[in-house]
Symmetry: C6
């Protein structure tokens, strides 16, 4: 690949998803002259990609690809293609020649959370109630601490991907994450467990928070290891230390992570406890209709506000 | 697998049991468009599967597949198929053209615990007595702390899978496990050893609790590592830490696990000690008839209650 | 291996000695329908196996296969076959058409400890004396603390398997080991070293206890790691912890093992010291006749008892 | 490869980028007689290389290859070739037969930071402002503590290599790095984060400093591990220790690195805080024109100085 | 290799030097029926082996194979064959048809220590003197603490195997090693360094003790890890712990080894210091004649004794 | 390779550079009968090798191979061959039919340090001055603490092997290294850095000491790990411990190494500080003439002595 000038007519193109594992020699100038990093598309890019993948699929008039582009923050091109394919399948199942807005909406959640479980008659009441409280916790805390995020869908319908329910959370489309954004993401992740504890008591917290805890730990670890966002651990990149064989971490280090998590959890629990009635109201509504959207959620919050004001 | 639109007539289907070990790139949208996670079947699913696998096997009138579906919580499809095959073999051995309820029952325990050892004449009396006390411990504690579980069979017949005896324990069919459920599972696992200690003394506890301790440790570890259910270790996912090279665990951490186990064990021992007479009664019955079921167990408990009330 | 129903005429049988290393997927229902764990045979099983492997070998009248079955606790089928083959070779060497009881006895010890070293003229006197004291220690402590075990042979004849001598120890045929049994096994293992220290002094303890210490450590480790038999380390299965990456063991943990070993060793030393005269008597007899059996050992103990009583 | 004298007409030439991973035996005298280490070219070498790679590319009169050689400190030969190719492509895109100075300048930044993102209309205002403050921080601190470095370009145009912006920093062409140079490199790396904290507050520091922290950690680690530049860790080469299996690092060691980083960060923050107005002025200018060069940066600094003096 | 009875005419023989690394399944009864461990030959065995390997080599009358057998403690059969071959080569070099006693003696040391370096004219005087003192240290301490060992040869002639000199040390032919024997082996190993320190001072100790320290460490480690000979570390087999993943060793543990080594070294230094004059006398003799044997060593010691007595 | 006596006409010869990694079985007697370790040649050996490799190369009269043999301490045979080849190339470049003394001298330094960089016009003055001070430090400390070493060449001409300069240091030709020799080697290695600190201040120490620190660490580690030359770490061979899985090193251990290095560095700094004027004089001379030899170095030292005496 090196040292010959005569093969000028030949262009070698290569792609990789694991830049970090390539032999450095391959990346040096003189091997592949031009490196093009393809990041996630921005809103314009998403619009173009959606247009491309719906070029051979007739869309109903109520479908706005630009609107869809705005709702699909952090989707890759392939995920967008997947979304349009899924919508087309749903339209075909309806024996319809056109993709309706409703097809796209359903496809949207299928892509993210998996298809809905059809028959829910065998789910125990207690499991449905746990799910409702848990998802209400995620949704409510989002509205309380990160109102710029869109909670477009809360559901207690189990998915084929294994989740008992689901609370959709779309953050604004940004280049950077702030420290407070990352802490809020942790708080939102922990809110399901916090809601369970408030309503059912500490002895009855469930395994349902497993993915939430995993996600919260990952975010916290990134804050510590790569972003220098925790005073205790300072401005070191711990991956660099690790690559250099320094794998000994101070006990206080883990202890500090645990404390941070406990602190964020306590804040969330306190916030939800103040709005316990509203939390239950959202859960109750979920048990009635299984799925609610941004608008209904806001309505429930408004009703609660008015009621509180009247009570005061 | 990527980048060509022309192979539209071809559908690639792949299945895996080890999602966690696949190259992430395989899982991204654009590779396999639709991911379907096949979890354990619910009661309806189990019923359908049982029906499928008995379609070519004539069933006696006393067999109710729906009832069987209710008793086979957390069975996979393959395990259900295995159960029906085993029952068919037993019927064939009886030279019977029909699968009877008794065939299914025996098959049920064979699938779970292995086939029964035929000749028990060479088992030492002390070994039989240890098994009886040990299994009585498991069964009795279940009735005392988790009465919603079904103890459908207690036996001191050794199995070809190596167990000296067996105490069947069917929990309710749920989506989530509560903290208290997990602690009760640990308590039930430890009850065999506790019963041994109560009856034979600390010096005579045996190796028979080996699998119980393994299982109890696994449950406790899950509570700590993935479910954030122990205050001491907090809301961190320790697998995430581990994957990131943080493998140093505080000594206090292990110490805490040990203390929890000791505490749960003490509770179990105390509870069984209060019912020592009943424990012995169950064991005595087991030594007489080798196997007892849910009903007989409940009867023994009732008899004991009446006797206690009369005595009081 | 999965998913096809049509190959119904084909039966796949597989065997393994390392169940723990198989891919779990192979073991799931639907792959190999029936799993049969073949444990060690019980006394009846051993009798049947012995009968099978002597079917083509004429046995003398003084051979009782049932008696032999009783003496071969924890022998596998292959080991039993090996035993009968070895006896047949010995009979053949004698140019005898029949296997005598003596052939089987010699074969028995060959199978366990290896063949005897023929020419012992070059062994130093001090080495013979060390062996005699060491083996007398093993044998005497067995009689003192675990009289239910059979010490069928004590010898100072070196074997081709490298041992300087050998003290046969047959425990009763049981399903479970008690804590006290395991501690006694450790005590018996340590008694060789203890006898050396008593007779020759601490500076002259030898490398001859190497295998004993290895065995004692293995038993103690099992008590701690898998059987929850040590208060200090509690009811955790440490292999589960280890498999989950928790490989940090508290220093106190090792310290505790060391203390336990020291305590058991002290007990053994004290017990042997009380019977020092008897210990020497057994060793003296071994130096005279090289090998003694259960009966002669009991006789020496009886003689000592009488002498002690007379002295008192 | 060894031991034969007769193959005198054959010359074996080999090249490697990973001298450290070769079998030492290959490197010993008698194998490859002459080892030639090809380091980075000095200014004359760079001039010759640039001349070679522009021999078949017509250059406009305003292009000075010697000047370019002076600006490309630490470029390898291949990187220089890459630079000329990139410039030729840009000229071709302009449909120009000659490479202009502007082509080379754009190529220069493309080679280092990647191509510019064309459409910037979708970038959120807050993200643009964060980038401007962050890059202004890097540029300003360079002028304050290492005025011998050239800051030839500051930009808030995102690149296709993933950066939000870019601040070019050319150090003088030297054989050695001093301790103070390395500390200044760390200070410059940390200045982006420091600027963010000053302007937006500690809660709003962002993930944008990720690469900076990685780079700062790498420099600090080199100071400690290979260059003996930290009193606390002394004059040991820790890679030698590591290769010899000594992988235990004192907790105080990591603690010390953290403290050093904190100290350098505090110094930077203090320095920028004193010039907060100037920092904002540079950022404001960046928001207006997206990219500024060395001259404009110096002008902004001069204006600020005069204003300060007038104010005083 | 298992399960077929029909291949009765075939005998499979296998040999291994690494029993510990074989799959255990291979070793189980039923696979290889008979295991024969071939240890080192005893004196009779060595005599027979020597006879075999000299059957086609004419021996001079002054050669006694039985005597040679007595001097070759712990030689394997192959090493004995090697010895006879080496002697035959030496005889052939002498153009002699018969192997003389002198050939065997020289062969003996060649086999153990390597061939002598022919031209010693370029060795620095200081190096010769260091070797002489060092070897005298080994030899003298042997006579002082382990007089049962034979010091058949002390030499300051460097060998082709890299040693500067050599002090032959033949222990008695025993089955077991006592604790005191092992400590004496350590003391003998450390005596070279101790002699250097006494004569040249602590600043001038040399790298010449490298192999001695390695050997001493190995013996000490065996005492600790496998033979339970150190109170501090007790009766545990640390290899068993290690195989079970317990790799954490207490700092005190290493500290204790260091202390033991220091203690043994101090004892040796003290003992040699008392006999410093004799040490120098042996070294002086070595510098004169390069090599001395058991008899001359004993004579030097006797002379010293008489002189001391006269002086007293 | 074993067990057959009939292949007597065949001789198998094998060579290895990695004796430590061979399967031990290969090395046992009976496999390869004779092991010949080929160490580095002594002065006579070097003379013979040089003669061999110049047999087909005409030497000028001013070339003395014996002298060259004396100067090439610790050169292997291959390195000597390499040296003669390099000299022949240099002679050929001069179009000379004979190898002159000057060719050999240049070849000598090329073999050790790499070829000289031809064009030095682009080296910054500060870099030249740093090199001069650094190399003067190495050379001066050698003369002060190890006058038996020959400093045959000090140069500030960069080499193609990457060094900025070079200070040749030939120790006497010995079999053993003393503790004080090893400490002096560390002191000489650290003197470059010490000189930098004295002249330019602590903030301006450079990366130029990187290889020196690596070498010093390697020597210190050998003193500790294999040669038992540090009281703190005692007479243990730490490689033996390591091979046996004991990889935990006490923190005090590393701390002690660091302290030793600091102590040796302080001594060096103090010694150079006393002779600061002389240090600068040597550096100044180097800046003037680029390269000086043993004689000129000694002259500079003499001049300084006289001046100091006059001043006093």
């Amino acid at each position: 690949m090196s040292g010959f000038h005569e093969n000028e007519g030949i262009i070698v193109i290569a792609a990789t998803n694991r830049l970090d594992t390539l032999d450095e020699a391959l990346l040096r100038p003189g091997r592949f002259d031009r490196h093009i990093e393809i990041g996630l598309p921005d809103v314009k890019g998403r619009y173009e990609i959606l247009k491309l993948h719906s070029s051979n699929k007739p869309l109903a008039n109520n479908v706005s690809l630009m609107e869809l582009a705005q709702q699909t923050v952090y989707f890759s091109g392939a995920k967008l293609e997947n979304l349009m394919n899924e919508a087309a399948i749903l339209a075909a199942k309806r024996n319809s020649g056109k993709i309706e807005k409703a097809d796209i909406e359903r496809a949207f959640y299928t892509v993210i959370a998996g298809a809905e479980k059809k028959d829910r008659s065998t789910i125990a009441d207690i499991d449905r109630r746990i799910t409702a409280i848990h998802e209400a916790g995620h949704a409510l805390i989002t509205k309380l601490i990160a109102p710029e995020n869109i909670v477009s869908r809360i559901t207690i319908i189990p998915s084929t991907k294994g989740a008992g329910g689901f609370s959709m959370n779309i953050p604004p489309d940004r280049m950077y994450f702030k420290k407070v954004d990352m802490e809020n993401s942790i708080r939102i992740a922990l809110a399901g467990r916090a809601a369970e504890e408030i309503i059912f008591g500490e002895e009855n917290i469930t395994t349902g928070a497993s993915n939430d805890i995993e996600r919260a730990t990952e975010i916290l670890l990134n804050m510590v290891r790569r972003f220098g966002m925790k005073q205790q651990t300072g401005l070191l990149n711990y991956d660099v230390l690790y690559r250099n064989g320094i794998r000994q971490v101070q006990n206080e280090w883990i202890e500090e992570c645990k404390k941070t998590m406990d602190k964020l959890y306590s804040e969330v629990k306190e916030k939800l406890l103040e709005k316990k009635e509203l939390l239950e109201a959202i859960a109750t509504r979920l048990l009635e209709v299984e799925t609610i959207g941004e608008n209904e959620l806001n309505e429930l919050i408004e009703q609660y506000k008015k009621k509180s004001e009247n009570a005061a």
